[in-house]
């Protein structure tokens, strides 16, 4: 009954001696470090879930004198707030993960891209960076960090938009391929990793790949930090073993009247009560960058959907038509249905439009608008119409 267990884990916030871990790890060969991260089964915690070891391996394989490691601290997905807490509580572990990555891929410079909303963290991070730089010098490891701030654009969390932003431009996503591992920041091979992902690499180096691999399920190894909010008596940040069902999650965090859980924020999926039992939170079911929002029966799912569509309409960078116009039309469409100007069959047309956006949009923003749209419209049709 492994999949029904809900186990607390303490890896991310555990207080460890980063210097000691780095002393040991930075002496190892890049291939060995990468192999450990591969063996652990760690997948990116920023949402997309690409195997971290593969990302490092591809970047390491590039023959370029200049490479970068970038820490994605843009955390803009509605309902996600764990990276802020990680940076606030254990910044040294985040930077330590970047040092390990630098050794693995062969980078001498790392960038931390912090969302502007978290600017209050800057003094602390700068102080920590000084300590870190002194430590790198002592260890004779040639690696420096730069801190860059966002300025209130959700799209800058998308990796190629984030590079554009660091380069001093509008945060507009690029075409892929080429992927960042071959052509990323300033056109150089780049590994971009989420804050939480980087901390896990530190813990994998400390405890070994096996330790991490034993936690979780085949598709979702290890644990994950969840940001829990909405109708719950226990809103907050929790690190849990992956592989639990939504049902178990709701038993732990619900208020006794949970009718839906939005897993993965505005770009994630809405799971209705009747699907709680059979839905696993993880890459085999509903993936999440951490955002878990609970809604009880007093909530209107129309309001939830409207809020998300309003969000996407505002945050779409406007570069490609399917997303720019699609977001607007979905928003106007559900409003028209709500006002009774369009009949319920119109919702099916809108679902088709969301499907087109998934295929035709240039980046993950436009491609994922349909996730929340379809899962809310299909499961709560009456609430959208009446």
């Amino acid at each position: 009954m492994k999949s029904s267990a809900l186990k607390r884990v303490d890896l991310i916030f555990e207080s460890v001696n980063v210097r000691e871990i780095l002393d040991k790890t930075l002496k190892r060969k890049p291939e060995e470090i990468i192999q450990d991260v591969l063996d652990s089964g760690l997948r990116g915690r920023g949402g997309a879930g690409f195997p971290t070891g593969m990302k490092w391996k591809y970047t390491a394989a590039e023959k370029n004198a200049v490479k970068y490691i970038v820490c994605n601290a843009d955390e803009g997905e509605p309902g996600t707030f764990k990276d802020r807490q990680i940076l606030d509580e254990v910044p040294r572990k985040v930077f330590g993960g970047m040092a390990i990555a630098s050794k693995a891929i062969g980078a001498k410079i790392g960038y931390v891209y912090l969302r502007g909303e978290y600017k209050f963290l800057v003094p602390k991070l700068q102080e920590e960076m000084e300590i870190f730089h002194a430590m790198m010098k002592e260890m004779k490891h040639d690696f420096r960090l730069e801190l860059r701030l966002g300025s209130g654009a959700y799209i800058c969390g998308e990796e190629s938009a984030l590079f554009e932003s660091i380069e001093g431009k509008r945060g507009e996503p690029r075409n892929k391929p080429p992927y960042p591992t071959t052509s990323g920041l300033f056109g150089k091979p780049t590994s971009i990793n989420n804050v939480e992902t980087l901390v896990y690499t530190v813990m994998i180096c400390k405890y070994g790949a096996d330790y991490f691999h034993k936690l979780g399920t085949t598709d979702s190894r290890g644990s994950k930090v969840f940001s829990v909010s909405g109708d719950t008596p226990k809103a907050g940040i929790y690190e849990l073993e992956l592989g639990m069902t939504v049902e178990r999650f709701v038993e732990e965090f619900g208020d006794g009247d949970t009718k839906a859980v939005q897993v993965g924020g505005a770009s994630g999926f809405c799971v209705p009560r009747k699907k709680f039992r059979d839905t696993i939170i993880g890459f085999e079911g509903v993936p999440t960058g951490g955002s878990m929002k609970l809604f009880n029966s007093s909530r209107s799912m129309y309001n939830v959907l409207h809020n998300y569509l309003d969000f996407f309409t505002e945050e779409s960078c406007g570069q490609c038509t399917p997303c720019r116009v699609g977001c607007q039309q979905l928003l106007l469409g559900v409003e028209a249905v709500k006002r009774g100007e369009r009949n319920s069959r119109y919702l099916d047309e809108l679902v088709k439009l969301a499907g087109t956006m998934k295929i035709a949009s240039k980046c993950g923003l436009g491609q994922s608008v349909g996730n929340a749209f379809k899962s809310i419209v299909e499961n709560f049709k009456e609430e959208i119409i009446y």
């Binding site: 509605p78 996600t80 909303e117 300025s151 507009e172 300033f186 109708d231 960078c317």
Partner: protein, 154 residues
């Protein structure tokens, strides 16, 4: 004007004159004043030897780089559903009544601007807002009144 010229130079000395220095320089200007004036953007363009259209094009992409006149204290209240579920609307009304402005407006003494923003990462302590860079969480009408009164005294 001379003050601005000097500030832009200072910022360029600090952050460099490359293209990737642009955003840190603009952010530095924002720190001095809560919005970017046309003159300042033209000065930055000259300093970095790029077109003013490039500077404006970049600045206008970012929500936090306002090109409209803003007050000394910019209030950004979260408009994501988690905050709405925890009584944000009452808090917003309290701010509007206290400052006598609506969302998108600036007080006539140019002290406060009131804006809405998307999720600022405090959903577990909703409702939340930023005043310039400082987050305020678990707001209630009473709490927000007290906070605003402190700012009014400044």
């Amino acid at each position: 004007m001379l003050e601005q010229v000097n500030l832009v130079k200072e910022l360029a000395d600090k952050h460099g004159r490359r293209r990737d220095s642009l955003i840190p320089i603009l952010q530095g200007l924002m720190e001095e004043k809560n919005y970017l004036t046309d003159e300042a953007m033209v000065l930055v363009a000259k300093e970095l030897d790029i077109s003013a259209a490039d500077v404006y094009g970049t600045a206008s992409f970012y929500t936090f780089m306002d090109t409209d006149v803003r007050g000394k204290y910019v209030i950004r209240i979260c408009k994501t559903i988690s905050c709405s579920m925890k009584g944000k609307i009452e808090v917003l009304h309290t701010i509007e009544e206290t400052l006598k402005i609506k969302v998108g407006e600036t007080t006539s003494d140019k002290k406060f601007s009131l804006l809405e923003t998307n999720c600022i990462g405090w959903c577990h302590k909703a409702p939340a807002m930023l005043i310039n860079d400082t987050p305020y969480t678990e707001l209630t009408p009473q709490k927000v009144t007290e906070i605003l009164q402190e700012y009014m005294k400044m």
